[in-house]
Symmetry: C2
Subunit: 139 residues, 2 copies
């Protein structure tokens, strides 16, 4: 693995690590200050602080015991200083607003990372749930 691939993988792995520790300040620190985030419901957060606040809220409720696993991550570098990391994920341990356990969900997360003075930071995250839990692939 190249140095830059290892650096990007480190950020992507930290995404799930911070999620699973429910450490939202550390989670938010992975993002650029003006990053944007779309969750699988089409909710849109703008800026690192909005991303932190939204996740603090869900990790105090629906996601407080949840575990996010990236089953595979593919990283591409289509331009200098730019990385596209797509991760297939499984989310287990989510509960309903009433606290009832919910079935695991799967999805596809795209993280767009840009290398700046402080290393690689996420500038965009967009998440899409997989309908029926199975993704089709052309290859």
């Amino acid at each position: 693995m190249s140095d830059k691939a290892a650096e990007v993988s480190e950020v992507v792995n930290a995404f799930s690590d911070c999620w699973n520790r429910h450490d939202m300040p550390a989670f938010a620190a992975l993002f650029a200050e003006d990053a944007q985030f779309i969750n699988p419901k089409g909710e849109w957060w703008r800026g690192r602080e909005a991303i932190r606040q939204a996740h603090e809220c869900t990790h105090a409720s629906l996601f407080r015991h949840s575990c996010l696993s990236f089953t595979r991550t593919l990283v591409r570098f289509p331009a200098d200083g730019l990385a596209l990391a797509r991760s297939e994920w499984v989310l287990e341990g989510q509960v309903s607003p009433e606290g009832a356990p919910l079935a695991p969900r799967t999805g596809l997360l795209l993280n767009v990372l840009v290398r700046g003075d402080e290393g690689w930071r996420i500038v965009e995250s967009q998440n899409t749930g997989i309908a029926g839990g199975v993704s089709s692939r052309s290859s």
Copy 2:
């Protein structure tokens, strides 16, 4: 509008124009050869040709009379030669597999564009439906 903003807007506008003309060769030509595409169901297509084939199929059936409108597009340039274009969309005129009309749907589309020798091309598209048809925004 700067030159590069106008160039990127032209590609984004062509996305919906080609969709609404159901001209999938022209649609596919907006993408880089190794582009990837995630639709709102979490289906994943890799490569311009796979993107064309998948859309040829849906535009011969579910989407054959559909009309895609971008109600707003925000473009950012977080690195040299890189553009992130997020479009809010409404899709009208979709039909069920049995041909019955379906209600309009809304969503958020992220196009990642890179400037190469042939101008701006889409290297990643990821699409997320808006649950309940209304997106929340932090700002």
